[in-house]
């Protein structure tokens, strides 16, 4: 579906054409511990090119640590990470050109305007997009020359995503993109992400909202205590559970959700932590 970089012929290392069988992201045996807390404990993942893949799990499951290792911001203790056929140890500069990321709590410089912030990020990339185009894509056109300090929470998140997009990335990492947003902003963000999917971008999203994972993702990995406890498309996962083990459904629910999948696997609710 997505054959990256064939048009980027300005430097050697970037012209690695991947065939469709090479996953966009492959993580094997990832381990990371902080002092005495093991955040990631033998995690394996494969994300195919062009899919939207979700990492779903409660807070503390190791999602952010995993994604930060994939983004090159943290070193792993052991295990391997391969992105678009490259590794952080050897191809860091290339990888940074190819990835777009949104951190969980990104706080951009409050005094700059939206336009200025994007121009700054744009200046880092060899193959960047037009700032105006990206601003329109995230629907911040009206706020183009407003200071970041004056934006609402939802608008700041959209700007953060715009910063991820301005470098024309092949792989997008979004860490909890809608946490802390009001329902309207959340829906706007989901529409935005759906648009990228339609463009064929590969996306890795972490979230603890099961509704979000169900809605956005082609496949979901449920993560708990640093490793994957279930993997598949949302419907596959839901079908796989044996409803008889669940507690009686809450009055308004008519069919199982990913939350139920989680409960059946771990005996706890996603929101219960």
């Amino acid at each position: 579906m997505l054959l990256p970089s064939v048009h980027d012929t300005n430097s050697g290392p970037m012209v690695t054409a991947l065939d469709k069988s090479t996953p966009a992201l492959r993580v094997q045996g990832l381990r990371k511990a902080y002092d005495d807390v093991v955040a990631v404990d033998g995690l394996d993942l494969e994300v195919d090119a062009g899919e939207c893949f979700g990492l779903l799990g409660p807070n503390g499951a190791g999602k952010t640590t995993t994604i930060e290792i994939c983004e090159g911001l943290l070193p792993a203790d052991s295990g391997s990470v391969e992105i678009l056929g490259r590794r952080w140890e050897s191809d860091a500069d290339d990888l940074r050109q190819l990835l777009g990321i949104q951190l969980q709590e990104t706080q951009l410089s409050e005094k700059l305007t939206v336009d200025e912030t994007l121009r700054l990020f744009q200046s880092f990339y060899r193959d960047a997009r037009d700032v105006g185009e990206v601003i329109d894509q995230v629907e911040l056109g009206e706020k183009r020359h407003s200071r970041v300090g004056g934006l609402s929470g939802g608008q700041k998140q959209r700007l953060a995503v715009a910063c991820a997009l301005v470098g024309n990335p092949q792989l997008l990492f979004l860490d909890e993109p809608t946490t802390g947003l009001d329902p309207v902003s959340r829906r706007q963000m989901w529409d935005l992400i759906a648009k990228f999917q339609a463009e064929g971008k590969t996306i890795l999203v972490t979230t603890h909202y099961m509704e979000e994972a169900e809605r956005l993702c082609d496949r979901v990995a449920i993560v708990d205590h640093g490793h994957v406890i279930a993997l598949g498309s949302p419907s596959e996962l839901i079908e796989s559970i044996d409803m008889s083990h669940l507690p009686p459904p809450e009055p308004r629910k008519t069919s199982a959700t990913l939350e139920d999948v989680f409960v059946s696997l771990t005996g706890r609710t996603l929101r219960g932590e």
């Binding site: 983004e71 090159g72 911001l73 500069d93 940074r96 050109q97 990835l99 990321i101 951190l103 709590e105 990104t106 706080q107 951009l108 410089s109 005094k111 700059l112 200025e116 121009r119 700054l120 990020f121 744009q122 200046s123 880092f124 990339y125 060899r126 200071r147 910063c163 470098g167």
Partner: protein
């Protein structure tokens, strides 16, 4: 690199307090101190005379002929009090005989010693002394040796240091604590370019700072600019950039703005005291002079004064410039090495 530097500008200009402290405050300080310590004409000297003796009137008349002496008459007890509280610099005690007189004063006070000379002259002339040599007076005021002339270069040096260290350190630590630094690390941005952009933006602001402060000094107080202006700018430039290195070092690891404030103050306080900003660093004992001379702000102030007040050439200030440069280079590379990017 260009974008990064542009961002530095915008962040600075849009912070009104930073603009105040960098541009307005030094001017206010210079104006205030310059006014307070301005040259006045010859100071008047307060003299007391004990009025009980018969010869007192003649003495008082003689003293009044010198217009710089302000004479007050006292009785014995009031006189002692006036001396002790410093209301008068010297007490004249005329005797009953016309050919002797007594002066009571504190020999450690320079104004008392000065008073004694003036008073004695007045008394002697009044009693009939004539001087064999006729002296005439020519009064000269040379700009360059007043306190304000000493002060302005010192303030400029202090200002360059303050705006370099505070501006850079605060900006970086704020970015780090907000995780903006972490976000930038995920981009292809070059790390050394990020640090250099701070130094580059200092370059431009420094021109404004120098022009404002020295312009004010020149216009309001006639502070001289005797040396080559090019050399002057060069000194200021090297100073600002080197202080920038100190700022980067201060910001290299601190996670909170409180911590970096502490570090910045720790760096600057010794220099505010020792480096000859408000008073000459040679006032300190010989033992600490090597330490004082090695401080970057001392070197900057010395170089600025040599250029402005004595017209020193570039070659003459090279030793100071080398000291400043050394500080800049060492601190920049130390910062690069120690920098906490996450």
């Amino acid at each position: 690199m260009f974008q990064l530097t542009l961002v530095r500008f915008r962040e600075f200009i849009r912070e009104p307090e930073a603009v105040f402290w960098t541009f307005v405050f030094p001017i206010l300080l210079a104006a205030g101190l310059g006014l307070a310590f301005r040259q006045r004409g010859p100071e008047n000297v307060q003299i007391g005379v004990v009025g009980s003796a018969a010869t007192a009137t003649a003495v008082i008349d003689a003293l009044k002929k010198d217009s710089t002496l302000i004479v007050q008459t006292y009785d014995d007890s009031a006189a002692a009090l006036a001396l002790r509280t410093g209301k008068i610099a010297l007490l004249v005690v005329p005797a009953s005989a016309r050919d002797s007189i007594r002066y009571v004063y504190d020999r450690d006070r320079s104004e008392a010693v000065n008073a004694r000379v003036l008073v004695d002259r007045a008394v002697q002339i009044g009693a009939g002394r004539t001087d064999p040599v006729r002296a005439s007076e020519t009064y000269v005021t040379e700009a360059g040796s007043r306190y304000i002339d000493f002060l302005v270069p010192g303030l400029l040096g202090m200002n360059l240091m303050g705006s370099s260290i505070w501006g850079i350190a605060f900006s970086i630590v704020t970015a780090r604590s907000k995780k903006l630094l972490k976000r930038l690390m995920a981009t292809p941005m070059s790390r050394s370019q990020y640090l250099l952009s701070f130094l580059a933006s200092r370059l431009v602001f420094l021109i404004l700072e120098v022009v404002t402060l020295l312009g004010f000094g020149y216009w309001a107080f006639g502070v001289p600019l005797r040396g080559s202006l090019v050399t002057l700018f060069l000194i200021a430039l090297i100073g600002a950039v080197s202080f920038g290195g100190l700022g980067l070092l201060a910001a290299s690891r601190a996670r909170t703005t409180e911590a970096v404030s502490g570090i910045a103050n720790f760096m600057m306080l010794p220099m505010w005291i020792f480096s000859g900003v408000f008073f000459s660093s040679s006032n300190f004992p010989q033992v600490v002079q090597p330490f004082v001379k090695a401080l970057p702000l001392t070197a900057v102030n010395d170089a600025l004064r040599a250029n402005m007040l004595e017209g020193a050439s570039f070659a003459a200030v090279t030793p100071q410039l080398l000291i400043i440069l050394a500080w800049g280079v060492v601190t920049f590379f130390a910062a690069l090495k120690l920098f906490r990017w996450r």
